[in-house]
């Protein structure tokens, strides 16, 4: 039975691990979402009242819409910035390509809390931007102090590195001789980009978009410190159910809503494009 041991060890163990610690917790969240919490105790009666509250209470609907708008805007901005950056690095980075890409990974790897602290240093009332403005004798910029704009800048700052890295990796696997071929046949750089580079890297772009959209949708840290009184996002409200208010069941229902939304977003994104025409080469078949 020696030949059967390797597949079990290499595929079975990770599968069991993920089912036990990833799938089961998500299922338990689903179960908890149809129970209810009363005076910090869980009451096991099966109904959909939590979802009814979420659907009818205007505040939660506002938070959700605001979160979706914020996540969409931030992901679009990140993709729009990341593409020229990654494209610029692959085209003109030369021998420093790797260094330039690693440079983008440094901020990503220093942790969300510490980066929020750094952002406070940039945007806060006594931060860099307002400090410069005030030392020049100008009025401080109110738009970036505890507003949704500040949250958006913060989220772009937090997730730009990963979008750049993903698009760069996609471009690395993309055969750039195709661009050279296009230029030899007389295509302008812009045309080569729109007809070759963009469609063939659409899959990587979608992954980057999803990896920005999903965490933004349930962002808790950045809006809490950078957003103002009108900046409560859905993820933040959800975290509060598990902290201050102690209404775990309602929080679980919010978690299910967020999870369903993320899955729906990914599903829609990957259904609208034909994967085989977007540079998706499968896995391990090279």
């Amino acid at each position: 039975m020696r030949t059967r041991l390797a597949p079990w060890l290499t595929l079975g163990v990770p599968t069991v691990f993920l089912v036990a610690l990833f799938v089961l917790p998500l299922l338990s969240m689903l179960v908890l979402s149809v129970w209810r919490t009363e005076n910090y105790h869980i009451v096991q009666d099966w109904n959909l009242r939590n979802y009814w509250v979420l659907a009818t209470d205007g505040a939660y609907a506002t938070f959700l819409l605001r979160s979706i708008a914020m996540a969409t805007a931030v992901s679009v901005i990140c993709t729009a910035i990341a593409w020229p950056v990654a494209y610029g690095i692959t085209l003109y980075g030369g021998r420093y390509k790797l260094l330039l890409t690693l440079g983008f990974a440094v901020p990503f790897l220093t942790g969300e809390v510490l980066r929020v602290i750094a952002l406070q240093g940039l945007l806060g009332p006594v931060g860099l931007v307002n400090g410069v403005l005030m030392s020049l004798g100008a009025a401080p910029l109110r738009a970036i102090m505890y507003t949704n704009v500040a949250s958006a800048i913060g989220l772009v700052y937090l997730y730009l590195p990963i979008v750049v890295t993903v698009i760069y990796l996609s471009l690395l696997n993309f055969d750039q001789r195709l661009l050279d071929a296009a230029k030899i046949f007389g295509a302008s750089p812009a045309r080569a980009f729109f007809e070759i580079a963009w469609p063939l890297n659409l899959f990587g772009t979608l992954i980057g978009f999803a990896l920005c959209f999903i965490p933004c949708l349930s962002a808790t840290l950045a809006p809490r410190f950078l957003g103002g009184p009108n900046g409560t996002l859905y993820g933040m409200a959800m975290a509060q159910q598990f902290g201050e208010s102690g209404t775990w069941a309602l929080g679980a229902a919010m978690g299910v809503v967020l999870f369903a939304l993320s899955i729906a977003a990914v599903f829609v994104a990957f259904r609208t494009v034909d994967l085989r025409r977007t540079g998706f080469t499968g896995f391990g078949r090279g």
């Binding site: 390797a6 220093t110 942790g111 750094a118």
Partner: protein, 273 residues
């Protein structure tokens, strides 16, 4: 050389993004090393903040816990992801897509959701108290997928005929793994280990819900942040930034000198621009 607006625009985009990413980091670095911490231009150098941070016993305990968490998570997730990558490429057959979908699914679930669902599962359904162990397990779920991606890029080009050759000459699967496969793939494993270590070390959104009363650096920083930003927090962020910068610099030097590739394939470099 003729004027190329496209080239200039692309390079400008790179430079501006770098400024955007690094300005806050440099700013708080200067702020943590000077007496006039709120607007350090020009800085009046002083190490008072740094020494206050380093002398604080709460931060020392937290640092120890964070290091332990990072090492455990990195070891577990690298080992699991290494096994999973080999399994996907060698043994999955027609079920590759199915397994791959399960293995990278955690990437598409937000960290805070992983934290909350693990809290519900272990705290409510299993009735366990949160501690470092539960935080490690929950973090491994998230880091596993990242480690898998890093190793997949490295092993994508691995020539499995080498393994077959070893087996043909009578090596057992275990011996083949330790004498052929492992020596060839260790840079990928090391890369995955470093990245997952850094991720777990800095994680708050998963760990926060599972740590119980155990302090780690991010949770202590988060607690302090609620009472306003203090210069010590700038100093803490600066220290972590410096360490990460050093680690990546070492990785870069290793890659440049050809000692390790970490999934980077120089032969794919462009021949001509």
């Amino acid at each position: 050389m003729r004027f190329r607006p496209g080239k200039i625009a692309l390079i400008a985009a790179v430079v501006v993004s770098y400024l955007f990413l690094y300005l806050p980091i440099v700013h708080i670095g200067l702020a943590s090393l000077s007496r006039n911490s709120s607007f350090p231009y020009p800085p009046h150098w002083s190490f008072a903040t740094m020494s206050r941070l380093l002398g604080n016993s709460l931060y020392q305990t937290a640092l120890g816990n964070s290091l332990l968490l990072g090492v455990l998570v990195a070891t577990l997730s690298t080992a699991l992801a290494g096994a999973a990558t080999i399994g996907l490429m060698r043994h999955a057959g027609r079920k590759t897509t199915l397994f791959l979908a399960l293995f990278i699914a955690p990437l598409f679930v937000a960290e805070v959701l992983l934290g909350i669902s693990s809290l519900i599962f272990s705290g409510l359904f299993l009735g366990l108290q949160g501690n470092l162990g539960s935080a490690v397990l929950a973090n491994v779920v998230h880091c596993f997928s990242y480690a898998l991606l890093i190793m997949a890029t490295q092993l994508y080009r691995y020539d499995w005929r080498l393994d077959d050759a070893a087996m043909v000459f009578g090596a057992t699967p275990a011996r083949t793994f330790f004498e052929v496969t492992l020596p060839l793939i260790w840079p990928g494993l090391l890369g995955a280990f470093i990245v997952t270590f850094i991720m777990a070390f800095n994680n708050l959104e998963i760990s926060f819900y599972l740590l119980g009363a155990t302090p780690t650096l991010p949770s202590v920083a988060w607690g302090a942040l609620r009472y306003g930003v203090k210069p010590e927090l700038y100093a803490l962020a600066t220290c972590v930034n410096l360490v990460v910068l050093c680690v990546l610099a070492v990785m870069f030097v290793l890659m440049r000198t050809g000692l390790a590739t970490f999934g980077h394939r120089p032969e794919r470099e462009r021949a001509a621009v």
